[in-house]
Symmetry: D2
Subunit: 146 residues, 4 copies
């Protein structure tokens, strides 16, 4: 288990925030957003962070390096459920960058109320799925910023 | 973080195995099963275990207790990717039953090769989402069995 | 088959437009957005149209009427694929309102290029799934507007 | 609109049947299987039909031809809802094979009760998404069989 990041409950500890509106398709028969939907929210927030920082994920994938950020580990803690039509603030921070992996912490809030925290651990892989060098731009995205 | 279970890589440590055939709809542009699909595989295996042990989940939900097993925490470790049309053996064991929570460990294999391990932490909630007593039958399902 | 609406390729024939950013989770091993994702895009656009016209869908569901707009029929025609990170304009128009059903037409474009058209046929149902009166506000939303 | 097949309500009109157990993850807040899930059920049944007839879809995709059966059109008619834990019989028949397209009809039943009918229209495309010759084996799979 590489996962070591402890996601903060304080939005100030995060560099970036992305908003997701929950879909009715994502609810389940308990009337809440199904827990299996959260990985897609986290991924959408990661992609938005890269795009807004000048590194759109599809360009990263198509570039000379042709790399993907494979998900090695995923952890989600559900504190209060999300419901249909909630506007979710997904706070994102990159931490623990090593030569082969990095970790991303997430805080999900609705109207400033904490709903969930999460961590993903990523490795860079090339187009054939083999481990690859971590792209240099990630260092500039690490931590909560100034 | 309540999650404490360390999922074994040995199938003998699990009580139950359920098979899932991966769907093309579950692949992504990396050519592998998207990591966001795994929670649905784990849930399907939990439901199959309950059904085959005489406690179909829809009856549990509709019964006098009317309880659901809410997912409090989820952890997945991806060791090797799954691909389209793989027949995945999802090994399941219930552990760490307390008065308010239990943990489920998972080992995912294809042709006896390890692909992923996972843990979910659950609490019992009533139809309004409030914490509820843990149903008695869970004790009989705990551990790897005889 | 109640479905009769012929969705136009001209955005001017639609009353409302909602934008959806495709997710990586929604791609498949062909490298395109999986066709099974489109119903969720259509539904998200319907919900956005209702919300922006003062009838948020969760309020419609929770109100005295407690109604849902069940999907009776769905038709999608794929003209060109969507890809990851596309910003999709989903044009929406309500048509063919009867006492028990209405139809919704959709035009999906990316940078003004047509990608897909679709139609859904809906009936109003109450909380138990039984057919219900169509809410009066739908008449005001029907057609392309002024 | 190429779609012309009228799916029969009689299981005898179909060549093949594949069973799918619905997942809790596929339910929605109306307590039924979300309509956006049905395309995945249809696709799983198509893949099972190909596999059991000696043409596993991943081999078709990886072969010399390297073809995919792109979905050009999709139509689903919902007659009665599916619920969690239903064991759904998806009846499948290939019809209307032309040089560039074929249509697949579906009948979804639970305990012999009709729940939905559906049609998909497919074209063969190569690895770059360009139209390709239809593989010869499809002719042998067309129609309800003997």
């Amino acid at each position: 288990m590489r996962l070591s990041l402890q996601p903060s409950l304080d939005p100030a500890a995060y560099r970036y925030v992305h908003h997701v509106r929950t879909r009715f398709a994502e609810t389940d028969a308990m009337g809440i957003i199904h827990h299996g939907t959260y990985p897609a929210y986290l991924e959408e927030a990661r992609a938005a962070m890269l795009r807004e920082n000048g590194f759109p994920y599809d360009a990263v994938r198509a570039g000379d390096d042709g790399i993907d950020f494979a998900v090695l580990e995923l952890y989600v803690r559900h504190r209060r459920p999300l419901r249909f039509d909630d506007l979710v603030a997904v706070h994102v921070v990159v931490e623990d960058l090593t030569r082969t992996t990095f970790q991303v912490g997430y805080l999900l809030t609705v109207d400033a109320e904490v709903r969930a925290t999460a961590v993903t651990v990523h490795g860079a892989v090339d187009a054939r799925g083999r481990p690859s060098r971590m792209p240099a731009f990630l260092a500039a995205l690490t931590g909560p910023g100034d």
